[in-house]
């Protein structure tokens, strides 16, 4: 295992071009995500939280600056290598769950393993094993739309864990859930942190920051405060 932060951002800028106008979503963000911590990123809408998460997760390339994943500069990796990184080392959880509705619950969880080339029998066993931690066995062959929002988000978490990643990046994972389910999801992330996973969660919900080890506050594309709990 490599030493030091698992993710490091060094003077990261992300500028979007809206028509002919440049819109800076991130303005020179530098920060580190420690291995095995639960980091919450908060801030108002448009402050750059999701952009920061996308850059951390190798979904987006910064306009300027560098993102390191275990000291590897991501700018040097091809899109295929970035896809491999996302597949093996990073798990994503989205606000709108982003489950494929034409697949069953268990098939959704198998998706990252399909991309990795794991044989059908092995990946099915692993998917069921992960799902059994979060959901009743009765739902695994249902379609996502047959489940409640809380259940769908737990499926999404199971999918994020499919290839046993080091980091889980969650973008407003409780945004579409009621308070009970929001806390349930936050508790799951805390438990995963306890198991050694690194969690980065973007949230509006201040209550949920209680579960985090550190809170990074973002304003107008800049980190304005980092609170260690």
């Amino acid at each position: 295992m490599a030493e030091g932060p698992i993710v490091k951002l060094s003077d990261v800028w992300k500028v979007y071009l809206v028509g002919k106008v440049e819109y800076p979503a991130l303005k020179g963000v530098s920060m580190e995500v420690e291995r095995g911590e639960f980091l919450c990123i908060t801030g108002a809408s448009g402050s750059g939280k999701s952009t920061l998460l996308n850059v951390m997760g190798a979904l987006d390339r910064p306009t300027k600056g560098e993102v390191f994943f275990e000291n590897i500069p991501l700018s040097r990796l091809s899109s295929d290598k970035l896809a491999e990184l996302r597949n093996r080392r990073i798990g994503f959880v989205f606000q709108t769950f982003n489950l494929l509705n034409h697949l069953t619950v268990v098939e959704n969880v198998e998706l990252p393993m399909i991309a990795l080339g794991i044989p059908p029998k092995k990946r099915r066993e692993r998917a069921i094993e992960i799902l059994s931690k979060f959901l009743s066995h009765t739902v695994i062959y249902k379609r996502p739309l047959e489940l409640s929002g809380g259940e769908q988000q737990r499926v999404a978490i199971a999918r994020a864990l499919a290839n046993d990643p080091d980091v889980i990046l969650a973008d407003e994972p409780t945004g579409n859930l009621d308070s009970y389910n929001a806390h349930l999801i936050a508790k799951i992330f805390k438990e995963l942190r306890d198991e050694g996973k690194t969690i980065v969660m973007v949230t509006h919900n201040i209550e949920l920051t209680d579960y985090a080890d550190r809170i990074a506050k973002l304003r107008d594309g800049q980190i304005v405060e980092i609170i260690k709990r």
Binding site: L59, D80, A83, F92, F94, N98, A115, P120
Partner: protein, 420 residues
């Protein structure tokens, strides 16, 4: 990522939109079926006609009179030409016969009984016997005359007489003749027409024909040459003797010409049918673009989960491939089924078109000198065409999917995930 999984994901994606997928498959199916059905008809008709011409024998030359009467002297001259093995004189008269209240047009051939096998090949009689070579008007009649399109019982039997009306041919001496012919035998069905159509003809002894029609000349001569290579020599000799006074036909040459025509017709029809595949391609292209746009967020999610651009590209292309394969296979089945249904429909259509009421609703006439009235053929399913159709279907579907697949593969995952 395993190939099996790409196929699985592609199949599941298609299965989600069953109606849309079914319509895309149908568009390919129609194109493939059209190619197979149309080309099988032309090839079937062509092969049938060619086999008929060939059944006269590859060593045959037919001489039809134009402006010269062929006499016994001419027959002797022709028979003595280099390369000629035999010259068979035939008298031919277009006639009408009345059976019950149905009037039919037919052709009466006067031919020696021992030469019948040279014209008909195997003489297939379903009832009665072959006539004797006398001046008595005994006849063997074609199956369509005897059965009148009924499959069960003939309306005339050996030993029974039929009335034949004809006009003496050859210009100024033309006169109406009515005569009674006694049926000696009934021919089995020979199928499609040829220069002599047995199913719609009446054969009587040569001497009887000479007497009845008062003809001391012949209307056609069937020449059997020593071998196929003698045909050109015999034709040349005949032209040098008779010039344009006779019409010389070589069935072998006709067969070769027809073969070329049929090949060209097949290509033309196949090409026209293939245009429907282009329409299918545009449909697939359009629908794939729509599908890719609809699935933008799904594609973004897959990319976030670690699917590479080439995986996305492969999945969409394989969706096109599956449409092509399923459409092609169903098209082949449908095309073969249609191929076997069409001859019946064509025969029914042509029967209606050639039936001309003359006296009443029940009166039917047919012209035995045309091919269409008695045309029957087996469609020929060319395995090469079937294979080409399948390849075309797959190719067209895959090519139509390339651009949508490329667009999907090149999507920015962040933008795709934000897509509403």
């Amino acid at each position: 990522m395993r190939l099996y999984d790409i196929f699985l994901l592609a199949f599941r994606a298609l299965w989600t939109h069953k109606i849309r997928t079914a319509l895309l498959i149908l568009s390919v199916t129609v194109g493939v079926a059209a190619i197979i059905a149309l080309t099988s008809q032309t090839e079937g008709i062509g092969r049938n006609i060619i086999s008929i011409f060939k059944s006269l024998g590859p060593d045959t030359v037919i001489v039809n009179v134009m402006s010269k009467r062929l006499t016994d002297l001419d027959i002797s001259i022709i028979a003595s030409l280099d390369g000629v093995r035999k010259a068979i004189p035939i008298i031919r008269e277009v006639a009408a016969i009345t059976l019950g209240d149905t009037q039919l047009n037919t052709v009466v051939y006067g031919i020696a009984s021992y030469e019948l096998n040279e014209i008909l090949g195997d003489i297939k009689l379903i009832d009665g016997t072959i006539y004797q070579d006398t001046a008595v008007p005994l006849a063997i009649i074609g199956s369509q005359i005897a059965f009148q399109n009924t499959t069960s019982q003939p309306i005339v039997l050996p030993g029974q007489a039929i009335m034949v009306y004809t006009r003496g041919s050859f210009g100024a001496q033309a006169q109406s003749i009515s005569l009674v012919i006694v049926v000696a035998g009934i021919l089995d069905r020979y199928g499609a027409a040829n220069l002599i159509s047995p199913d719609t003809s009446i054969f009587i002894p040569l001497q009887a024909a000479q007497q009845i029609f008062n003809k001391m000349w012949y209307d056609m001569v069937v020449i059997k040459t020593n071998n196929v290579s003698s045909i050109d020599i015999v034709e040349e000799s005949l032209r040098s003797i008779y010039g344009g006074a006779v019409n010389i036909i070589s069935p072998t040459q006709i067969a070769q010409t027809m073969q070329n025509m049929i090949t060209q017709t097949s290509l033309l029809l196949g090409g026209i049918a293939a245009i429907s595949l282009i329409a299918a391609a545009l449909g697939i292209f359009n629908m794939m673009l729509v599908t890719v746009t609809e699935r933008t967020r799904e594609i973004g999610t897959m990319k976030a989960l670690g699917f590479k651009n080439k995986h996305i590209l492969a999945q969409i292309i394989i969706e096109g491939l599956l449409i092509g394969v399923f459409g092609g296979i169903v098209g082949i089945v449908l095309g073969i089924a249609t191929s076997y249904m069409l001859p019946g429909l064509i025969a029914r259509g042509t029967a209606i078109s050639t039936a001309t009421p003359a006296r009443s609703q029940q009166v039917r006439t047919f012209n035995p000198m045309t091919l269409t009235a008695s045309i029957s053929y087996e469609p020929y399913i060319n395995p090469v065409i079937v294979f080409i159709s399948l390849v075309l279907a797959i190719l067209v579907s895959v090519i139509s999917s390339l651009y949508p697949a490329w667009r999907a593969a090149k999507m920015d995952p962040v933008k795709a995930l934000r897509y509403e």
